[in-house]
Symmetry: C2
Subunit: 187 residues, 2 copies
DNA sequence: GTGGAAACGGAGATCGTCTCCGCTTAGCTC
DNA sequence: GAGCTAAGCGGAGACGATCTCCGTTTCCAC
């Protein structure tokens, strides 16, 4: 279904080009960029872009997906490098920096969360796994309360990101409050 | 500047109609409604709508404004009715319900926060005052930590709202975590 | 090389936002 | 209540973005 056929060489190349152009363009102009502009930049016609990515959200989801993958991977690395509580806290901030770095992508992704596209569902489960792993360890170490689940964490981080998009300097501070709320009540 | 002239009777009426239609339509279809649809519903031409509200954001801001006012007012009422800590918590949930009830308005408002339109600035200061008042009392009563300011509170609530737009059932739970993060460390 | 499927790409259909301007009407004046 | 004037109306249409359709080009299996 996902990989019916090997995809022709030129198609593969063009697809790659569009994704690169999209990543660049979103980073520069935020989510309001036009898709035709992306196509132009990638050196393909709009038709080609839409062949590969039926609509704006699919493109966004696909670009976002590779980012998510790297984020999940770095989560795993943190788990090996730091003690549980710190790994968890660092990962939260990492997500943060990550989403912040991509102007507008956060909002776009959020809007898309509601649509439940397959790519997005896959992303979510990737993230949930990464979050779940770090979270579980932190909980076992007694750094995070037990009644929190991965979804809670993801949503909370996302919420802070969205809410501080227009005031990035508050982000760290707010994330700190949230983290405090996730810690177990002191004995 | 705001009230140069008394505004002709028909103009006032139309303005009111558009606002009513806008409120209804946003509530029904979320933020994606077209302005022409609102105009149609209000029984005026698009030209008229745009005369009163130069663009989408202005309309949104104006509709939102009256909501904010009522919210601030209810905040004040809560302050008289309940002990400080509870009044504060209740107000948070109130904002919550309020924003949730208006599908999509939350997102729209957020996007607009960045633009700093005069109406929005006024809203923000209204909210800040209401939040500040309740917050200060709660802090004095020792229910909320001292290093939190009204802006923090507003952003956090807003963040949770945005993050749970696609999963309303999580809202209460997440807000609970956030509230816990705002409480003073136990002795 | 050739046949045919896969992919391209751009012209243009469609839809939403917002503007322009000729027409209508409220509301003052006598 | 008739006339005047400026405030206000409203819809046709300019503009710009998304997405589609289909004739043309390119790949690649034979």
């Amino acid at each position: 279904m996902t990989t019916d056929r090997p995809l022709r060489a030129d198609a593969r190349r063009n697809r790659e080009r569009v994704m690169t152009a999209a990543r660049e363009t979103f980073a520069e102009h935020g989510e309001k960029t036009t898709l035709d502009e992306i196509a132009r930049r990638a050196g393909v016609g709009p038709g080609t872009l839409y062949r590969h990515f039926p609509d704006r959200e699919t493109l966004l989801a696909t670009v976002y997906r590779t980012d998510i993958e790297s984020l999940a991977q770095r989560g795993r690395a943190l788990g090996d490098e730091y003690p549980p509580g710190e790994a968890f806290a660092r990962w939260l901030r990492l997500q943060f920096d990550h989403i912040k770095a991509k102007r507008g992508v956060g909002t776009a992704v959020k809007r898309m969360l509601g649509t439940g596209s397959p790519t997005m569902l896959e992303c979510k489960s990737l993230m949930r796994d990464a979050a779940g792993d770090l979270l579980e360890r932190a909980q076992e170490a007694g750094d995070i309360r037990k009644d929190v689940d991965p979804d809670d964490v993801l949503r909370l981080v996302h919420g802070v990101v969205l809410a501080t998009e227009t005031a990035p300097e508050m982000a760290d501070r707010l994330l700190g409050f949230v983290l405090d709320g996730l810690r177990p009540p002191q004995t």
